[in-house]
Each structure stands twice: as structure tokens, then as C-alpha cells.
């Protein structure tokens, strides 16, 4: 069918609108990158938008020579790896058991898990619990309390439910136990969903800050997100004072941009490759086959 003229006009407007939306989405990132490479003077006078002015990379040296920054960066890597490993073990075994439709009590166990999506203990009881467990100022306060994401659990469960039962039964007849089937048959054949889950968990642990902010008091334990948060909080604090503090603040605005850039760099670099997994992963769980 030939497009009517008004529909053609609509498509052009639609395309332009989407380009505009994309530009607006990207702008804040470009602004940060431009600031990271600009000299302080140009940022102060509000001349930096998306093109660096007074190009310099000395701020990178300033940020990178702070040993605490690197220490916190390393902490983030450690927390992310440990937390993701724990989360994957718990989520995979839970999802696999729940995916077996014949399992007695399955509905109840699913209910127990799903209820926590709608109701939770709240900030203070959680805080009191973590303190009572003696996890304050340890890595465990970061890596344990969020080890199972119910959303990820449901995505994995949906994937396992669609797994070929014939294959599992054949393996069982050949003498593999439930553990053997899971470890040697199901997991090797579920690389797509496992990769997706690892990515989901890793990104969320990489990005997390509040647990660490709440439960860690010692600077050398902070993840880099808390380092950045303190940088931001310090800067806004001085901004209110004005006057002599102004100079310190504006140096910080350059440092801030560089720190933000470095903190988020792994995600920005990996994003083009990860993105299709994320999208496929969420589709796996949401569209019923």
C-alpha cells in the first residue's frame, strides 16, 4: 500500500524526534567527557558543553595519583567478583530446583521468594540485623545481603523450564544424579542465560554504593562509588559556602568529571558488547515461548 502523504510526514517527524531524544540522552555523558578533558578556567566560566576547551589531561594524573582512589577501585573489583560468584551459585541452584514442575511444595517456595519482591524489612531492621551479625566493616555486608535477586531468579527459572526434559532424562538414565545433570548437562548448555545473569549481577554490584556507605566506616574498605559519592558530597558542601571555598570547589568540578569517567569506564567500554545480552536476557524472561 502506498503511504499517504500525512503518514510520510509523520515518519519524518518521528525520525527527527528520535534523533533528538538520542541526542538529549547522550548529552550528559558527552558533557562529562568534555569537562574531564577541559581546563578548570573554561569550566568555571561555563564555556564547556560537549567540546573540551583548554584541552588537558593533567587532572587524570591528579586523580590517578591518589592511592585511595586505586585502593577503592580495587575494592570494587573484589566486591563485584565475590558477590557475583555467590549470587550465581545461590540463584542457579534455587532456579533449577524451582524449575522442576513435579517438585512437591514448589508453589510454596516460589511464593516465599516472590513475596519478598513486594514487602521487605525496611532500612532499620536490616541495619540492625547486619550489625547484630557482626558484618559491619567487613566485605560480607556488601556481598551477602543482596545475593539473590528475585527478578534474576525468575528469569533463570523461566529459562530452565524451557530446557529439554528428554535430554535431562537421557542423562539420568545414563547414570547422572541430579547434581551431575545440573553441572554437566544443564549449565554447559545454558551459557546464554548464565552470561546474562552474570552481567546483570556484575553491573548492579559494580554500581552499588548504599550498602557500603551504610556499613563501612573505614576509607580503605570503600568501593569506588562511595569514594565518588564523598567527592560529590564534599563539593556540594563547599558550593553553599561560596567565597574563598569557591576555588577549591571548581578544581573539584574537573576532578569530579574525571573520577566519574574513570568509575563508569568499564561499563561504557563493555556496554556495546554487553547490551545485546542484557536485551536478550530480559526478553528470555518476559516473553513466553
Amino acid at each position: 500500500m502506498q503511504d499517504t502523504r500525512s503518514y510520510t510526514a509523520f515518519r519524518v517527524v518521528n525520525g527527527l524526534a528520535i534523533i533528538l531524544i538520542c541526542a538529549a540522552t547522550l548529552y550528559p555523558f558527552l558533557n562529562i567527557i568534555a569537562q574531564a578533558f577541559s581546563s578548570e578556567g573554561y569550566i568555571n566560566s561555563g564555556q564547556v558543553s560537549i567540546i573540551p576547551r583548554g584541552f588537558n589531561i593533567t587532572t587524570f594524573d591528579v586523580v590517578m595519583s591518589d592511592s585511595m582512589f586505586w585502593r577503592n577501585y580495587a575494592n570494587t573489583v573484589i566486591y563485584t567478583v565475590v558477590a557475583t560468584a555467590i549470587a550465581m551459585v545461590l540463584t542457579t541452584s534455587f532456579a533449577y530446583a524451582l524449575s522442576k514442575r513435579h517438585l512437591k511444595g514448589r508453589g510454596f517456595f516460589i511464593g516465599v521468594a516472590v513475596f519478598t519482591m513486594f514487602f521487605n524489612g525496611g532500612l532499620i531492621p536490616n541495619y540492625v540485623l547486619i550489625n547484630a551479625l557482626g558484618m559491619t566493616n567487613t566485605m560480607w555486608a556488601i556481598v551477602l545481603p543482596n545475593a539473590i535477586s528475585i527478578f534474576n531468579l525468575l528469569v533463570m527459572k523461566a529459562f530452565f523450564e524451557n530446557f529439554s526434559t528428554e535430554l535431562e532424562e537421557a542423562a539420568q538414565i545414563d547414570g547422572l544424579s541430579t547434581y551431575g545433570v545440573l553441572w554437566r548437562i544443564v549449565i554447559p548448555l545454558s551459557k546464554a542465560v548464565i552470561a546474562t545473569m552474570v552481567l546483570f549481577y556484575a553491573v548492579s554490584f559494580w554500581n552499588a554504593w548504599f550498602q557500603a556507605f551504610l556499613y563501612l566506616d573505614r576509607r580503605e574498605l570503600y568501593p569506588v562509588t562511595v569514594y565518588l559519592r564523598n567527592l560529590l558530597a564534599g563539593a556540594t558542601g563547599t558550593e553553599q559556602m561560596g567565597g574563598e571555598a569557591a576555588e577549591a570547589t571548581q578544581i573539584a568540578s574537573n576532578v569530579r568529571a574525571v573520577t566519574m569517567l574513570l568509575t563508569t569506564l568499564p561499563i561504557i567500554c563493555l556496554y556495546p558488547f554487553l547490551q545485546k545480552y542484557f536485551v536478550r536476557g530480559i526478553m528470555l524472561g518476559s516473553v513466553k515461548q
Binding site: 545475593a147 571548581q250 568509575t263
Partner: protein, 344 residues
């Protein structure tokens, strides 16, 4: 709900993405029970003893995850009892002695509580009204694109903010709104005076909701786009033969096609209505703008963690969580009565 699990548990998209998965799962138990009744009475394979003996390896896989849920999810729920008991730091996590509704009365008579309550309702309402329809519109716009390459690139860009840490997002917001930031540069072009956005209460809601739109709308389209692919192309064919133009096709085929997804996401959005982005507010606000920025969750944080008034803060948090639960239950009930599409 005062949540401290912004991590893996809750996606930043206000829980939106969970929808379809939940939808998938909640019909399960019924199917199971039907099967059970089929076998019941014919033999004794339906006892727990038989199940445990046959499937003990599967049950063993459940042990650690259930212990996890018990300790880190259900124990804190039980810990809410300190809203009705006096808690002293260092004592049992369930408090020392009963004080009845003392802390409940305390917040009902607390003017600050009512200020933060209304701030939460307004911020939650604005976010719901603006962040719920926009992904639908954007998904429909993506759907009209003919070039697949352009569509892919545009989608990738729109998802990007979803993967940023909330700390980065807050940092970006603070940069853009600072005195030498982009917004003031634009004002400068028009010869207007610079505005200290983060020091003026009247700007906070706009800034908060805009940043929420920026961060969540692209990712929000993903489930609608998935739903759009499941619409039968023959329906469009039929509509065209009946003389429907593009606009009418959208109205009578596309929108009904994604309506179930819309309902499920709306229920979840209503349920998280009170759980306004606590972490983002905590990162953005400052005492100068408490009058519009302070919400229940941040008040709980200050009363509880900063001032160590644990029982009082728990009472407020519990109140908020119960409102959230009631909202999601009633939204689900209404949806089920009206059209059969509901979470459970």
C-alpha cells in the same frame, strides 16, 4: 517501602521489568495443584516423605537459598516488631520491652512526618504520571522506524543511562544544574540570571522527575517492544482491508495488543509509588531544599541511622511499607475485576 536493596534485587526502573516474569509465574501453583488432585488417592506418591526421598537432591539445592531468604529477607520483616518495642543499640534485634503504639502516635503527631509524607506522595505521583506513559509512547515511536540499523542504534542509546550507577547519575545532575553547568549556560544565552537550582526548593521536583525520565524511559520500552513483536501481523492486514489508516491501526490493534503488559506494569508502578527513589534523593538533596525534597525514606534514614532513634524510624518505615503493600494489592484487585489482566 524503604528499601536498601537497590542492588541486584530491584532494577532501577521502579521494578517495572519484573512484570511479565511475575505474570508468567503466578499462574503456576494452580496448575500444580490441579495435577496433585489428579493423583491424590490413587496411590501414596503424594506424601512429603515420598517426595523428599525421591527428590532429596533437588531439595538440597533449596537449602542455601532458603536460608538466605530467611536471614536476609524474613528476619528483617520480623525485626519490624521493634516499631512496637523499645530498642536499645546492642540488645536483641527484636527489642527489649513492649511500648504498644507509642511510636505510631509519635509520628502521627510529628509535623515533619506529614511534610515528608506529602512530599513522597507528590514525588511518587508525578513520577508515576510521567514515567509510566512515556515508555509506551517511545516504544510506539521505535516501532514506526523502518531502518533496522537506526532502530538498533537508537534503542542502544536509550538503554545506556539505565546501566549507570545512581552515584554517577547524581553527579551528572549536580554538574548540569551547577552555576556553571549546562542549564545555566542555556539561561545565559537568553541573558537570564544564573539560578542555583539545587538550593531552591521549587526546582527539586522538576529536576528529580527529569532525571528519572532520562534514566528509566529507554529501558522501560523493552517490555513493550517485546509485547509488540507478539502481535499477529494478520490483525494489521485485516484492519487495513477494513479501511483503517495507520492511526486507527495503532488505536485498534497495537494498543489492545500491548494492553496486558501495560496493566501489569501499571500495577507494579502503583505498588512502588511510595518507594520513591530513596538513594537518588539522598544523593541529591541538602538541608536548603528539605521542604520539597525530603521524603519518608530519607527521613527514616536521618531519624534511624543518623540520630539512632531505631524504633521510631522503624515505625515510620513500616507505615510506608504497608501503604505500598496495600497499594499493590488493591491495584491488582481492581485490575482483575476490570479485565482479567492481573499479577496474580
Amino acid at each position: 517501602m524503604t528499601t536498601i536493596q537497590s542492588g541486584p534485587g530491584t532494577l532501577p526502573g521502579r521494578g517495572a521489568a519484573e512484570a511479565a516474569v511475575v505474570d508468567d509465574l503466578v499462574s503456576e501453583p494452580r496448575r500444580g495443584s490441579r495435577r496433585r488432585s489428579l493423583y491424590a488417592g490413587t496411590n501414596n506418591t503424594n506424601t512429603w516423605r515420598y517426595a523428599l526421598k525421591k527428590d532429596w537432591r533437588l531439595y538440597s539445592l533449596l537449602v542455601l537459598p532458603l536460608v538466605f531468604l530467611l536471614i536476609f529477607r524474613y528476619l528483617p520483616m520480623a525485626g519490624n516488631v521493634i516499631a512496637f518495642r523499645r530498642f536499645r543499640p546492642g540488645s536483641s534485634i527484636f527489642g527489649d520491652e513492649w511500648v504498644g503504639f507509642h511510636y505510631i502516635e509519635m509520628f502521627i503527631n510529628d509535623p515533619t512526618f506529614w511534610r515528608v509524607f506529602w512530599n513522597t506522595v507528590i514525588l511518587g505521583g508525578l513520577t508515576l504520571a510521567i514515567c509510566f506513559p512515556l515508555p509506551i509512547i517511545l516504544a510506539l515511536m521505535f516501532n514506526e522506524l523502518r531502518s533496522n540499523a537506526f532502530k538498533r542504534v537508537a534503542q542502544s542509546i536509550s538503554y545506556l543511562p539505565h546501566f549507570m550507577s545512581i552515584v554517577i547519575v547524581a553527579g551528572i545532575v549536580l554538574q548540569l544544574t551547577s552555576l556553571n553547568g549546562t542549564f545555566n549556560q542555556i539561561l545565559g544565552l537568553f541573558g537570564a540570571e544564573s539560578v542555583a537550582f539545587m538550593q531552591q526548593p521549587q526546582w527539586f521536583r522538576t529536576i528529580y522527575v527529569s532525571s528519572e525520565v532520562w534514566q528509566t524511559v529507554g529501558w522501560g520500552t523493552i517490555l513493550y517492544l517485546a509485547a509488540l513483536t507478539t502481535i499477529d501481523p494478520q490483525l494489521y492486514e485485516a484492519a487495513r482491508i477494513d479501511g483503517a489508516n495507520r492511526w486507527k491501526q495503532m488505536w485498534h490493534v497495537t494498543l489492545p495488543g500491548i494492553a496486558p503488559t501495560m496493566v501489569v506494569l501499571l500495577i507494579l508502578n502503583v505498588g512502588t509509588f511510595m518507594a520513591v527513589g530513596f538513594e537518588k534523593v539522598l544523593l541529591l538533596y541538602n538541608p536548603l531544599i528539605y521542604s520539597t525534597a525530603d521524603i519518608i525514606a530519607t527521613y527514616v534514614y536521618r531519624v534511624g541511622i543518623t540520630s539512632s532513634n531505631f524504633s521510631y524510624a522503624t515505625a515510620i518505615g513500616l507505615f510506608e511499607a504497608i501503604i505500598g503493600l496495600i497499594l499493590i494489592l488493591s491495584a491488582n484487585g481492581i485490575a482483575r475485576k476490570m479485565g482479567g489482566n492481573s499479577l496474580w
